[in-house]
Subunit: 208 residues, 2 copies
């Protein structure tokens, strides 16, 4: 009897400027069993974007059907466009033992955790210091002060939800943070409840 495992859903959230994108990229490169979640969106496809890879492009009517059919694990409106995570594809990956990476904010994480508590592993990435965050939010030298202030307010709003996450990683040295997140992945895969077939495996071990 072989033990196999059910995949997990890995959520990384952070304020803008905390290094989440760099960590996500490194993870996807180094973890062959980890795949990025692909969202549906009603916004028009941009040049270079591939349908089914960058996004699944749908009409507003199709999107509304999915919401009504409970076919989205989380969804949100951003300005005039709608975005969502299709449940079926995620479920298929998890059953195949793949882990799925999500890049969602605290609101998306809340929705995901309501629908998928057992499969979800959530990590909040924090910047190492206030000064470092300010530097990273000041992307261009000529950014006006009120733009910086708005970015800081948005970051503060996101950070105010840190306590809703399972793990907290303070991103000081990027390589250390990548190692930390990978260790979380390795450990979570070893959780008893993610390993399928253990009962039969132990039974076989115990036979006389």
């Amino acid at each position: 009897m072989q033990i196999h495992r059910r995949g997990l859903m890995l959520v990384l959230s952070s304020p803008s400027g905390a290094g989440k994108s760099t960590i996500s990229r490194a993870l996807l490169e180094r973890e062959p069993a980890l795949v990025m979640s692909v969202s549906v969106t009603t916004r028009p496809r941009r040049p270079g974007e591939v349908d089914g890879k960058d996004y699944i492009f749908v009409s507003v009517a199709e999107y509304e059907d999915m919401v009504r059919d409970n076919a989205l694990l989380e969804h949100a409106r951003v300005f005039d466009n709608f975005y969502g995570t299709p449940r079926e594809r995620v479920e298929r990956e998890l059953r195949a033992g793949k882990d799925v990476l999500f890049d969602v904010d605290w609101q998306g994480t809340q929705q995901l955790s309501e629908k998928t508590r057992e499969d979800l592993v959530s990590i909040f990435i924090l910047p190492p210091s206030h000064d470092e965050l300010a530097v990273r939010l000041r992307k261009r030298a000529q950014d006006p002060e009120e733009v910086i202030a708005r970015r800081m307010a948005k970051a503060a709003d996101e950070m105010s939800h840190w306590a809703e996450y399972d793990y907290i990683v303070v991103n000081d040295v990027i390589e250390d943070s990548v190692s930390s997140v990978r260790a979380i992945l390795v450990a979570e895969r070893l959780k008893r409840r993610r390993q399928v077939g253990l009962s039969e495996f132990v039974q076989e071990l115990c036979r006389v």
Copy 2:
């Protein structure tokens, strides 16, 4: 505001012959923040044993006082001797941010988990196959069959409690198992609830 962390209690349990001792030794060598729990015992000190290092040697009266004062996190009788884990030393290590390693069976784990649920991380080590377990239990070529059978029955009894543990590690290649347990340690240290001072740290990040 510096973040520091409260240590955790790491329990490794396994049937005899699954490689637990080798894994424990490797862990203690490579993890400077991990210390072995020292038990009290009423059995006489053997030549070469150091009081306070191998065991804390106590009289039966002292032991009974500790049980009555709820000063032991777990305790057990083995033949005519008593053994137990003194609570105070463990609590001191955890507060200092040290992790404490326990080598206890399923009964000790149950007692520990009743008293220390939040601090406890429990890992069950399984042998890779029935054949491999049989080989490891057959320590000497001249062991009589009934001795082997008794060892196997004891191993089966221990293994029947696998589902009471947080993590399951199948010990096939020892180096992989050591890496797995170390990843669990790293991940558990990053759990939100083990990090002390996060609230103040985030407050400082969010100041305008």
